[in-house]
């Protein structure tokens, strides 16, 4: 690690190397400790995932390092027992609607926040920021109460509306700095040629926004697939998404074979990972978190 100087930082390299020599064993020990802990963590997570994978293919596995044999039987059983076809369809409906709605509502709002000055802007910003600061369990319960009161509890609409609460602010906070980066002169030019906001939006802004919208949409998609609490509080028996169905399966272990549950977990993981890998083509993982959190500070 220490001998490989990165190409771009050749100026820093001699100092680093000299420093290394001076520090001696203490620093090396510290480095080893940090890397060792990180590797220990990652190995354990990897093995944990491997356990689920292995178990989902295992015929019988009890108290031995490896199972006795391998089979695809559990996937078929999970598909049947947990009615995964229905669950997956509900998941697609919920996630699709949440992504489309949060973009349709969020992008115009982000544009207004980035470009327009209007009374109550600070207050609007606060309303958009709060749902990301308050965890889903806290606001999910009053929200579910209201949804059940107006008769939307347990319905698909209710689940979609509930999931919009964290997704919409997320899109707004990702898109606001993105829109701010776009040259405002483009807008002035479009207006000179007589474009109103809608025309400017459709013909100038939207094409420039597509990469940002894609990134935000993919991140909302991944977050919504994994959003457990809100869906759990608002879903009825026919409106469970994959993550909620998985929870019920693990919760009532003993009723179903654990291998079958793990097969379902594998399906869940495969779906999330696929979308995460696609999302990573558009967003760097460190930006993924910091962009959103730093946005309110004007970074």
């Amino acid at each position: 690690m220490t001998t490989q100087a990165p190409v771009g930082q050749s100026a820093a390299a001699p100092i680093t190397r000299r420093k290394m020599r001076r520090e001696g064993p203490g620093s090396r020990l510290w480095r080893a400790l940090v890397w060792g802990t990180m590797i220990f963590f990652l190995v354990n997570v990897a093995l944990m995932i491997a356990t689920v994978t292995m178990n989902s293919f295992a015929t019988r596995w009890f108290g031995t390092p490896l199972p006795e044999g391998f089979t695809l039987h559990w996937y078929a059983q999970a598909w049947r027992d947990f009615q995964l076809a229905d669950v997956l369809w509900v998941t697609v409906e919920v996630v699709g609607a949440v992504v489309l709605l949060s973009i349709a509502l969020g992008v115009p709002a982000a544009y207004a926040l980035a470009r327009a000055q209007f009374p109550g802007k600070k207050l609007a910003m606060l309303v958009f920021l709060l749902p990301l600061m308050v965890p889903p369990v806290t606001y999910g319960i009053p929200m579910a109460t209201v949804l059940y009161k107006v008769g939307l509890g347990g319905t698909l609409t209710g689940v979609i509306l509930a999931n919009l609460v964290p997704s919409l602010p997320f899109v707004i906070l990702v898109m606001t700095p993105f829109i701010e980066q776009i040259d405002p002169n483009l807008e002035a030019a479009a207006r000179i040629f007589g474009a109103n906001t809608l025309k400017y939006f459709r013909h100038v802004l939207l094409p420039l926004l597509v990469p940002g919208i894609l990134a935000a949409g993919l991140l909302v998609l991944v977050r919504t697939i994994g959003m457990f609490e809100l869906t759990f509080f608002t879903a009825g028996p026919d409106t469970q998404t994959l993550v909620v169905a998985l929870y019920y399966a693990v919760f009532s272990t003993g009723v179903r074979a654990p291998q079958s549950i793990d097969a379902m977990a594998m399906i869940y993981m495969a779906i999330t990972l696929l979308w995460v890998l696609i999302a990573l083509q558009f967003v760097s993982p460190t930006q993924l978190v910091s962009r959103v959190k730093e946005a309110p500070k004007g970074e």
Partner: protein
Amino acid sequence: MSAAASVSMTPAARADGRGWLVAPALVCLIAMFVYPFAYGLFLSFQPMEGGGVFANYLKFFTEPTLWPTVLITLKLAVPATLINVGASIPAAFALRKSTRASKFVTMLLVVPVTLGTVLIADGMLTYYGPNGWFPQALHALGLYHDEVRLTHNFWGVLISLVISGFPFAFLLILSYVTGIDPTLARAASTLGAGPWQQFRLIYLPLLVPGLTMAACLSFVQAFSVFPSAVLLGVPAGATRVVSIAAYEAAFESYDYSLASCVAIVMGFVQLVIVAGMLGVRRAFYSGPTTGGKG
């Protein structure tokens, strides 16, 4: 579609018509977030079983099944936050230079973020369970001879909070660390500052706002722990966290009034702790930075 609807409203506003574009999203969040919260607050003062306005709150703070849940949650959330943020700092420094190895590790750390707490709980039940690979490895290596109990207790929930929370805290802190100009530390190093001095006198003061943010978010995330406390813990005992109490009140005894009260208390405790952290930050921050900025 919504854009068209709000644009047609523009003539109404003289100042800047484009501001109306914010309306659809704002209406949606007011209906789904602000109103429910206000309604919940209102509802919590209308106890289902009658009694005074504060009957729910009295019940919460007197019944032994309710108020200790706050302490139990804090006992989980505080260590989890300290571990996640504490371990993230050295890890972020080790990986801050963008080499191939660090990019790879960063990538690997994104994976646990996406797994979700339910899947982590499911995996942990098998992996750390009495017959899982982890206990088997401990026994095989002769590190521990008794029965290894890491699931269905406090430790199981804490481990799951670290697995799901550490990558999140790490990515957040990494992006703060990489945002600091390394020439500052290099300048200090030419003046003879060792790595510890560089960290303490240069990086740490600049990192404090980021660290506070990361700590607040990690804490809030850990404080609302729910699925893993049920699946990996003892939901009736050692890991009966606040969210379990709120869930049971709302969806098992259908006492939405009490459930709202629990949710409000939960939000209040979070708010107090977050405000406390921000306050500590201010006290801590004032000294070193003014000196550094001049």
